[in-house]
């Protein structure tokens, strides 16, 4: 098993360096140099310009700049934001929990509704439930996320007045961050109403972000279940007189898990991408909004660092999914690589 993990890790190393190179080249493809961008309309004198170029190491040849960047990166330094002058990595980890909180709750929302719905649709194949679920899930899959988020706001916040429109918690509450997860922190703070406020802020972004993964999970679960339920071992299990529940959940579902885990793993990229729109619309202070704001502010140090951190996370998740495969299905890890 360890060998299997190490092999997978070895493949990722060139990918990781490729990611850093891609992010690095991105920033250098931008017309004009960063100093001019930072100076903006005010402009900058030639002497000052040369001085700043030197201070940021921008007068070095490109390959040297890249190697320096990698060297700093390997020491956990991604440079400083042009705008806030804060280290990029610190800003990232300050905002990261907000995105994780939102992405996790969207993922849980999608799993607890999508997977059972997919199983029921497969068991009751051809029924009204099956047909409506498939139509609904294709609709969810085709939904423009930003429009869906706005509809939710209009209906639940505007017409019904049930939920707040933006942010993570009402301004009435203030407490120090312990875990970075607003739900847990508000609970720990013990202030009456704080938890309720945090939860009500989380509901709409969760539904908005979770809808597309939910639709994907339901469809994938249904088709994976239908495939395994046609297999001989299911007939055997039925013939042995096992209860339908046991046959469905223990025998069929367990064998349908691989494609289901694949889509769950793939949805992490979808969630991070969706977080860009969801966080922007709900003013959720996470890394998605941070990246969009930085792109608009032309804060290239942040864009570069953020791209690397996010892409690294995506490949780390893919590695985890690969390892999970190996755990679930011994054939995969033994298939002599």
């Amino acid at each position: 098993m360890l060998r299997f993990i190490l092999q997978r890790l070895a493949v990722l190393i060139p990918t990781f360096f490729g990611i850093t190179l891609a992010a690095f080249i991105f920033i250098h493809l931008i017309p004009g140099d960063p100093i001019e961008v930072m100076a903006g309309e005010r402009g900058v004198s030639p002497e000052k310009h040369a001085e700043l170029m030197h201070a940021f190491g921008l007068d070095q040849p490109l390959w040297k700049q890249y190697l320096d960047y990698i060297w700093q990166l390997l020491h956990g330094d991604l440079g400083k934001s042009f705008v806030t002058k804060q280290p990029v990595i610190e800003e990232f980890f300050k905002l990261f929990p907000a995105t994780v909180e939102l992405a996790l709750s969207a993922l849980i929302f999608a799993i607890i509704i999508g997977i059972p719905a997919g199983i029921i649709a497969a068991v009751k194949r051809g029924s009204v439930f099956d047909h409506s679920l498939m139509t609904l899930s294709l609709t969810g899959f085709s939904m423009p996320l930003f429009w869906w988020a706005l509809l939710l706001i209009v209906f639940f916040s505007g017409n019904l007045g049930w939920t707040p429109v933006s942010g993570r918690i009402s301004v009435l509450y203030y407490f120090d961050s312990v875990t970075g997860f607003m739900l847990i922190d508000s609970w720990l703070s013990g202030q009456p109403g704080a938890f309720k406020s945090a939860a009500s802020h989380l509901i709409l972004p969760t539904i908005a972000l979770g809808t597309i993964p939910l639709a994907t999970f339901a469809r994938q679960t249904r088709s994976a279940m239908l495939e395994t339920m046609g297999e001989d071992f299911i007939k055997t299990a039925r013939a042995k007189g096992l209860s339908p529940f046991r046959v469905t959940v223990v025998h069929a579902f367990r064998n349908a898990l691989i494609p289901i885990i694949t889509v769950i793993g793939l949805s992490v990229g979808v969630l991070l991408g969706g977080a860009i729109l969801t966080e922007t619309i709900f003013s959720w202070p996470g890394i998605g909004k941070w990246m969009v704001d930085s792109i608009f502010r032309r804060d290239y140090a942040v864009v570069q660092g953020g791209l690397i951190l996010i892409a690294t996370m995506v490949i780390a998740v893919n590695l985890t999914v690969d390892v999970l495969y190996g755990l679930i299905d011994p054939r995969i890890r033994k298939k002599g690589h």
Partner: protein, 304 residues
């Protein structure tokens, strides 16, 4: 070899083609959703092509006397402006009609780049095991590591916000899926007898790639292209919504949505209508994709 006149040979090919097409059509129309999707997309395509004739007004003409007029089914609607007018007094229906052009334009351009570049790289990778293959596939892994919308946003930030740059960015982000799919399909075809016999007969590798192997890889690629067509419309609309796609006053649906954002509580139909059109268009194309998959590849049949 039998001696056939060229005429009867081409007739034979034609009738075989007809048989394949009618078989395909039979399978496709079994899927009722796909049929509805096709009907909607056909009507929309017609409207897009003849937008200048169909649309009652110009999409950018501002009627200052009719600002934010509601659609006719809402109180205060006006039959001159069936879907109402926007904050600048432009006719919504005409903007929607002209906007449909952009959706098709985006979809077709993105798919064109994905298919040409994706198929080429995929075939090259499959036919050149070793360094070339590894290099291409690692490159694709790198692109895939970035969430697609984020990557597209960053690319547009570099290239400058415009509809054309948004399409390039979206195509770049989608290409890896086409490369992977083509490569996997080509690899499974390469071991088959017809490829080895063609090789024995001295076919060049270009002939092997494009004439022998490629046609047998097309079915899943067509399905993938359909699904990417709809995703491209969604992503371009998202970029337009973020201000990084089509620029005003272009009547692109995502940009229209972004313009109407400040009126979501006072005049919700302003954002409701373009969004609904995006949803129905994307849904229809996805339904067609489902139908194509059932018809082209019985193995992948979605267990109906």
């Amino acid at each position: 070899m039998s001696m056939q006149s060229p005429n009867s040979k081409s007739e034979k090919i034609q009738s075989a083609l007809m048989a394949v097409l009618s078989g395909f059509w039979y399978e496709f129309k079994q899927n009722r959703g796909a049929l509805y999707g096709l009907i909607f997309v056909t009507i929309l395509a017609f409207v897009a092509i003849f937008a200048d004739l169909v649309a009652p007004f110009s999409p950018i003409e501002q009627y200052r006397d009719f600002l934010k007029l509601p659609p006719i089914w809402v109180e205060g609607g006006n039959w001159d402006f069936i879907l109402g007018t926007d904050a600048l007094g432009r006719d919504q229906l005409s903007r929607i009609i002209h906007g449909s052009r952009y959706s098709f334009y985006i979809g077709f351009i993105v798919i064109f780049f994905c298919l040409t570049i994706g198929i080429f790289l995929g075939l090259v990778a499959a036919f050149n095991k070793g360094y070339v293959d590894t290099f291409i596939m690692r490159l694709m892994d790198i692109i895939l590591a970035f969430p697609s919308l984020l990557m597209a946003l960053a690319l547009v930030a570099i290239l400058g916000p415009s509809l054309e740059n948004a399409m390039i960015a979206i195509a770049v982000v989608y290409i890896p899926h086409f490369v992977r799919l083509t490569r996997a399909q080509a690899l499974s075809e390469l071991g088959k007898d017809y490829v080895s016999s063609s090789k024995t007969m001295g076919a060049s590798s270009a002939r092997l790639m494009f004439i022998n192997v490629l046609p047998n890889c097309m079915a899943p690629l067509i399905v993938q292209a359909t699904m990417s067509f709809s995703s491209a419309i969604l992503d371009a609309a998202a970029l337009g919504f973020l201000g990084m796609g089509a620029q005003p006053p272009t009547p692109e649906w995502g940009t229209m949505l972004a313009d109407s954002r400040q009126y979501i509580t006072s005049d919700p139909w302003l954002m409701g209508i373009p969004g609904l059109f995006i949803l129905v268009t994307v849904l229809s194309i996805n339904l067609i994709g489902d139908g194509l998959r059932d018809a082209l590849d019985p193995k992948m049949k979605s267990n109906k």
